[in-house]
């Protein structure tokens, strides 16, 4: 088993853990964490495959960089929605 294959399998496992987490956990912030774990798994598959040849392939590296930024953008948006929903909920709780 080569190094690339090893990390590829780990990446798929991370994706699976994240996927299960998204489906099984009710807590929103942890759902968001799970989606991020999914994303890390996907990126790991990309990077692992990129290093399977003799020389590293830089195109997947660039794709993962784009992916990381997009992932953080999505996470930030989700968290801001959580905060806004939470802020709307509070007055009701007090009343």
């Amino acid at each position: 088993m080569t190094q690339a294959l090893l990390y590829g399998v780990f990446g798929i496992a991370l994706f699976g853990i994240g996927l299960f987490g998204v489906l099984a956990i009710a807590h929103v912030v942890k759902k968001i964490l799970a989606i991020n774990i999914c994303g890390v798994g996907v990126f790991m598959v990309f990077i692992a495959n990129a290093s399977s040849g003799a020389a590293p392939d830089f195109v997947p590296h660039a794709m993962v960089l784009t992916g990381i930024v997009v992932a953080v953008a999505g996470t930030a948006m989700a968290l801001s929605l959580v905060v806004r929903i939470n802020a709307l909920e509070k007055p009701e709780e007090d009343a």
Partner: protein, 253 residues
């Protein structure tokens, strides 16, 4: 099975799916991952045509770092759209109000509690961070690093400034909006401008490629830093309605 999605409004609850459903979901996920992993292991990797293509065209890309070459030259269109994604997120989290558009971008005020250590620290650290991020950007052409790393570092400086309590940012000011769009605008401008010389959108002339990439990267760095600081602000301050902590600050003025 997807009822759990509806719970997303209450962030403090920790309810799980019923056990049997959970078991089925788990088994499906495990089976799918097992199939994926097996097909990945069984697959014999072939040659990677892009490795040689990237290497052989690197000289004409204007930069030495292959990742930067892919991001800002070979597949620059992806990066252009990625900057658009950042703008979307900035617009989504921005606490918009029509009144604030005329207020200045940076407001200086006395902090509620002063921390001398932090202030002294900042006085030295901030210039250092700005210089370092400039350096990261510059070396991105040859070594690992580039617009995103530099932007993140620059955003760190902005957040430290916020934490010190002297300054607050108003993202509805025209200057702030300019910072948010400058990355996308510059990318589009360069991408369209090169049509005059090469006839193809986003195709830089080889001689000027390095300079043009740097111009785009500087603008992108500024936008990235601004968006990241905005994200941090949006999560720190109550984003809806009149904000209580802002009222407090006004009292101290």
């Amino acid at each position: 099975m997807f009822n759990n999605m509806t719970l997303s409004d209450s962030a403090k609850q920790e309810a799980d799916l019923p056990g049997c459903v959970l078991l089925i979901v788990g088994m499906v996920v495990v089976a799918a991952c097992f199939f994926l992993a097996m097909s990945l292991v069984q697959f014999q990797p072939t040659d990677q045509p892009l490795v040689t293509l990237v290497a052989s065209n690197l000289e004409q890309s204007g930069v030495e770092n292959p990742v930067t070459a892919v991001l800002l030259n070979f597949r620059s269109y992806d990066t252009l759209l990625e900057v658009a994604v950042l703008l979307i997120v900035a617009l989504a989290v921005m606490p918009f109000s029509l009144q604030d558009t005329r207020l200045p971008f940076i407001k200086v005020s006395e902090p509620i509690e002063r921390s001398l250590v932090l202030e002294a620290f900042l006085r030295w650290l901030l210039p250092a961070i700005v210089v370092t991020s400039g350096y990261l950007l510059w070396t991105g052409a040859a070594l690992p690093g580039g617009a995103f790393q530099a932007g993140a570092l620059l955003a760190g400086a902005g957040i430290l400034l916020l934490l010190a309590g002297h300054h607050s940012f108003n993202f509805n000011a025209l200057a702030a909006r300019l910072l948010l769009v400058v990355g996308l605008a510059m990318f589009l401008l360069v991408g369209a401008g090169v049509v005059l010389s090469s006839g193809i959108a986003l195709a830089y002339p080889v001689a000027m490629a390095g300079t043009l990439i740097l111009v785009i990267e500087v603008a992108a760095t500024i936008t990235i830093a601004a968006v990241l600081v905005l994200l941090f602000c949006a999560l720190q301050i109550e984003p809806l309605g009149p904000q209580p902590n802002r009222v407090e600050k006004e009292k101290h003025l």
